[in-house]
């Protein structure tokens, strides 16, 4: 009886932890999301975890790009946030920093950091790599009246993203990573 209770308690703790992890998997601070959503005149939030990506891949027909299907089948998650504001000043540098802070661990490396001196544009690309393989990518693009975040978890490369361009409204990458990579400012 005591063993059963212990087992139940362990299961409950594990479930709570997994739920918390699942909630946090998008890497976007929940409170900041709510604030930005409230301030934005228009916003888009896309949450696709592994199961959702797998599910979506089953509904890609033959006309869909094979590269797209191949890419999403191996990803763990894709989380996108775009916020459009009617006027500047709807987010602070501290807001951006609270997001960046999550990608300043040893696992993540800044691939691109482009911050204008007047603070009008802030762009960051962080990648999580293991050996030569990129296992995650975080993109932040901040304009005075627009904020875009993209977090991709799983094996991904600019070549993969570039291969999908030109189909289904996905723009082609006019430039590849090698021309901009490593340009820390």
């Amino acid at each position: 009886m005591k063993l059963q209770r212990t087992a139940l308690a362990v299961i409950a703790v594990l479930l709570t932890c997994s739920a918390a992890l699942a909630q946090d998997s998008s890497h976007f601070p929940i409170t900041l999301q709510k604030q930005l959503t409230a301030r934005a005149s228009n916003y888009t939030e896309v949450n696709l975890d592994r199961s959702m990506l797998q599910f979506a891949s089953h509904f890609m027909d033959k006309s869909d790009n094979a590269a797209t299907r191949h890419l999403i089948e191996k990803l763990n998650g894709v989380y996108v946030r775009t916020y459009e504001f009617s006027k500047p000043g709807q987010y602070t540098a501290a807001d951006l920093e609270s997001i960046r802070r999550q990608f300043q661990s040893s696992d993540w490396k800044p691939m691109v950091r482009d911050h204008s001196k007047n603070g009008l544009s802030n762009s960051d690309i962080y990648v999580k790599s293991e050996g030569n393989e990129i296992l995650g990518m975080f993109i932040l693009d901040a304009e005075p009246q627009e904020l875009d975040f993209v977090y991709i978890s799983g094996p991904i490369s600019l070549d993969d993203l570039s291969a999908m361009g030109g189909n289904f409204g996905i723009p082609k990458l006019k430039v590849r990573g090698n021309s901009a990579a490593g340009g820390n400012k």
Binding site: F55, A56, M60, T68, S121, S123, I125, V150, F168, A180
Partner: protein, 117 residues
């Protein structure tokens, strides 16, 4: 002529006798009512053909229709959810590529400006 008249009279007499009202035999009405009552009683007592089978068959048919409708609805909802997820994937990839491209192009422009004397 007299023979003919006799024959007519004879025929008329026979008709009159034949069509004359005669009282029903004693107990005729009772016997008729008793017979009708016994027939009805027998009809009621006879069991209907497979009464339980009919009910079961109807229940099975209703259940089959409900299950088929449920499965169809579930399949339809799954397909709608799948199409929605697929659209979300393409939306996410569109935003990803456009954001990435904008950043990389911006970076190249900055690098080019800095490289210029």
């Amino acid at each position: 002529m007299a023979d003919f008249r006799n024959e007519l009279e004879e025929l008329e007499r026979e008709l009159r006798e034949g069509l004359a009202a005669r009282p029903a035999p004693d107990g005729f009405a009772e016997r008729v009512f008793a017979r009708v009552a016994s027939k009805e009683a027998r009809r009621e007592a006879r069991p209907a053909m497979f009464p339980h089978w009919r009910g079961a068959l109807a229940a099975v048919l209703i259940a089959a229709v409900l299950i088929a409708a449920g499965l169809w609805q579930r399949q339809r909802q799954r397909r709608i959810a799948g199409e929605h997820a697929r659209a979300q994937v393409f939306l996410a990839l569109r935003i990803t590529n456009s954001t990435l491209d904008a950043i990389l192009q911006q970076k190249i422009q900055h690098n080019t400006k800095e490289a210029q004397p």
